[in-house]
Symmetry: D2
Amino acid sequence: MSDRISLDDLNGRDRAGFIAALGDIFEHTPWVAEGAYARRPFATVAALHEAMMGVVRARTEAEQATFVAVHPDLAGKAARAGAMTAASVSEQAGLGLDRLSEEEYGRFEALNTAYRERFGFPFVICVRRQTRDAILDAFERRLAHERAEELAAALAEIGHITRLRLVERVDGPGAPEVVGRLSTHVLDTHKGGPAAGVGIDLYEVGASGRALLRQATTNEDGRTDAPLIAGAPLRIGTYELVFQMGAYFAARGLDLPERPFLDAVPIRFGIAEPEGHYHVPLAVTPWSYSTYRGS
Amino acid sequence: MSDRISLDDLNGRDRAGFIAALGDIFEHTPWVAEGAYARRPFATVAALHEAMMGVVRARTEAEQATFVAVHPDLAGKAARAGAMTAASVSEQAGLGLDRLSEEEYGRFEALNTAYRERFGFPFVICVRRQTRDAILDAFERRLAHERAEELAAALAEIGHITRLRLVERVDGPGAPEVVGRLSTHVLDTHKGGPAAGVGIDLYEVGASGRALLRQATTNEDGRTDAPLIAGAPLRIGTYELVFQMGAYFAARGLDLPERPFLDAVPIRFGIAEPEGHYHVPLAVTPWSYSTYRGS
Amino acid sequence: MSDRISLDDLNGRDRAGFIAALGDIFEHTPWVAEGAYARRPFATVAALHEAMMGVVRARTEAEQATFVAVHPDLAGKAARAGAMTAASVSEQAGLGLDRLSEEEYGRFEALNTAYRERFGFPFVICVRRQTRDAILDAFERRLAHERAEELAAALAEIGHITRLRLVERVDGPGAPEVVGRLSTHVLDTHKGGPAAGVGIDLYEVGASGRALLRQATTNEDGRTDAPLIAGAPLRIGTYELVFQMGAYFAARGLDLPERPFLDAVPIRFGIAEPEGHYHVPLAVTPWSYSTYRGS
Amino acid sequence: MSDRISLDDLNGRDRAGFIAALGDIFEHTPWVAEGAYARRPFATVAALHEAMMGVVRARTEAEQATFVAVHPDLAGKAARAGAMTAASVSEQAGLGLDRLSEEEYGRFEALNTAYRERFGFPFVICVRRQTRDAILDAFERRLAHERAEELAAALAEIGHITRLRLVERVDGPGAPEVVGRLSTHVLDTHKGGPAAGVGIDLYEVGASGRALLRQATTNEDGRTDAPLIAGAPLRIGTYELVFQMGAYFAARGLDLPERPFLDAVPIRFGIAEPEGHYHVPLAVTPWSYSTYRGS
């Protein structure tokens, strides 16, 4: 992010320079940056973002709907036709929405069509905060909204999208929180200390299967050297941590059955707050365990 | 089991009648019943079985090996050729060993051959106490045995097989324990009482996939109306209970995230003692849970 | 209870016989039995009690207040002067209210006086459902009531008192629940089985100290041979179970520090439902434990 | 500790300066510093201490016993007569050994006499690592030692005493670990987050009663702003944390019984490692809790 603009620099720019810097944060909509220009200076990056959102919120419902309508479909024809902004291309690709099977593409297409027919604008969601499964869930849930409720939902998502873009563009104090963290800790309550050397697999669990996201091994403190996920929003979705406790207890030399009571211990959990800290510890013996959402 | 013979009746029979009743308990080996006849009367069914095993143990190692050798291969040619005793046919069918794919049949055939070459007698295991995965594990583990160790293992399995057969044949006091039990209990520690109406799925988890064994719903006491497994030996293997806690807490009307932290809660565990009582309870809130092997 | 009257007998009695049998269930108030007589026959003991309470509830508020006013003070002058019914004497003695120190007697006297001045009738509470501490708490809490609220509270307590008396007097189907139960279970999650031989002390914990109520030792199933409390209402109050885990783990021969992390493990809990089942289990290793209210 | 000597300074000193700086670290025994002088320079403070202990260990058993014999009795006549070194006076006073009742003084006196008669030297223990109860326990346990075993125990204690003194005297890299830490964390698993505002009392629990050591309240993260104990060795002993969960859950506005199931939640635990980190968390709902030794 070495090429970020400093907030000080932004605060000192003239109108043209300001818009040049921020005009594309809101998809195809430079009037947001224009409107925000009048509210300079900004003490924090969060205040700058809030001001830009305020410009949108001050518009009429019809204008807001028009504004939403400039966004591309998810996994839609714009993507295939190369008509999206670079930011949108990158965001959708991060979730593999540019590599769907024909069947998946068909499902998105049907949902996009139903949604456009119902609301008159495309379905907008901050894909960087979602798993693919969560997007499909949200799509179906939001299709049942009333129009005003859904317009608010769409603007909230645009808030998430642009907050992320702004933090990557502007360097300064008071940046809004845009990253989450997933961590774990394995405590061996049979011996009364951290469990070192435990293999851990992290999966994303979707409706159609599971995908291995990460493998790690606990250190002397029973933790992983780095958080399991960090530095980005957590994607809303369902996950499973699998702790290889059978191998760990066998390595401790305990006298356990050939087929141990606990071997691979799965903990399945949902993430609902992309900017949250999810600490999912395991306190475990060969015969018992407990977990909770910590922070 | 209305046609079982009473232990009193057996104790009063003459030699021919005694052998007629018990001669086929030990596969193709009426001399076991003959030998046991001399030790009448038996105070308990367990003592009768112990006497029969004592007849086998009193033989030389060579005689024991010959005795083991009359048993059929698992999932082997005898099964295909219809040359097994009715009891063996039924026992192997219970595990689906009569319905293997060609690939699975091939794997068993290779193991059978390797085993016979190494020990000179067929691999014997009490299939009613095993999942298919556990049999394959035991096969590979026992192939590494020394001969004397393996002969003892084979006799121990014959003890399990014949104990089950004897309990089904003879009615009387002091029957040996041949059945296990798997039960659960869901306690809602958010409200401080049993969790009623929780859907539970029980799976067998094998190397090549998982199979749904049973579905149940908790009653007002947080238990299932009947144990999840009862009335037979538990099959050595790996299992998973999946508790539908998301639906349960939603039905309680709690204010939880759209994507709840806990939804389907899996507990995966191994069963090593077919005649044991495995009580696997879940104490759970929307944000935490614990389990242990109870009894 | 061999001299109880059967419900059938009661249903068949004439007016005089019915009143002779039940006239003293409600303190100094035979008209309750008289009123209930008209509602015969009763299918259950619970229905009989409900009918008697219905007679009281049908009276005017002034009549109800007069009815409440015939009850003796708690730990009051009537007790000292020998002017209470035998049932009241026995009930108050069960809680030691006949053996108060001068200071305690003084505190009750002051509360009795304040209460009578406020409401015009004495403080009534079912002492068999209370610890002494709980009575003092209830006294102070109820002094803050409005009169109608407090009259209802007094009648509810008279319901509890007479329900207990009736169950002891009348034998028949559908007896109302008047007993509670406290039980425990110690599970050693270090070894994966019940903890046998664990010493357990049960204390009542009051504002002015603690009293040992019961000592027990766990059996092979990790339970006590009999419930810790049963056969009577649980007394509302605060309790502490102390589990002697240090001695238990030492006896198992585990290699633990001279000063073990867990030695005497206290679990302090309140009982609020005298007719409830309180199961307070302990799942424990030398380094961890958990408990919950079970049932 | 602004007047500490730097390790560099010490390494550069001549014999007299070195002994002047360290001669009193070992009670009345300047030859330890003399012996260590020959082993300069020291890369770490730990190496310096190890060298000094090596000087002691290189002596004969008789010389070591004579060395131990110069130490003062605990709570003994020397203390009363003002004949101890300033360091010993301060160390014993920290545990209140200068303010014993006549009865307690008598018990120490009897143990001191029995010990001296058995071993020929006084009982030495690093009082800064002990509660008074733990000292009495150690006294009785060590009285049962063989002489060689006990001499080793006494030297180990002198190692603890002088390690603490040295760390306070000398500033430099590689200081040995002489401090422990006790911390806690309260997690509300009913709401799925840290429990803020929970009152916590920390007691020392002795044979003759309990003493309140510290009160704290949890912050927004469910932790106390500072560890409950830090900056010094933990004293070997028994402790109790009492968490005021009743007030906390009431403040959350939960609908709980007048007499809640959990109100003051005690966790009693032993500390055996004065330089250890004891993290004793509480995961709790109104109806359940769990704890463990964390780190």
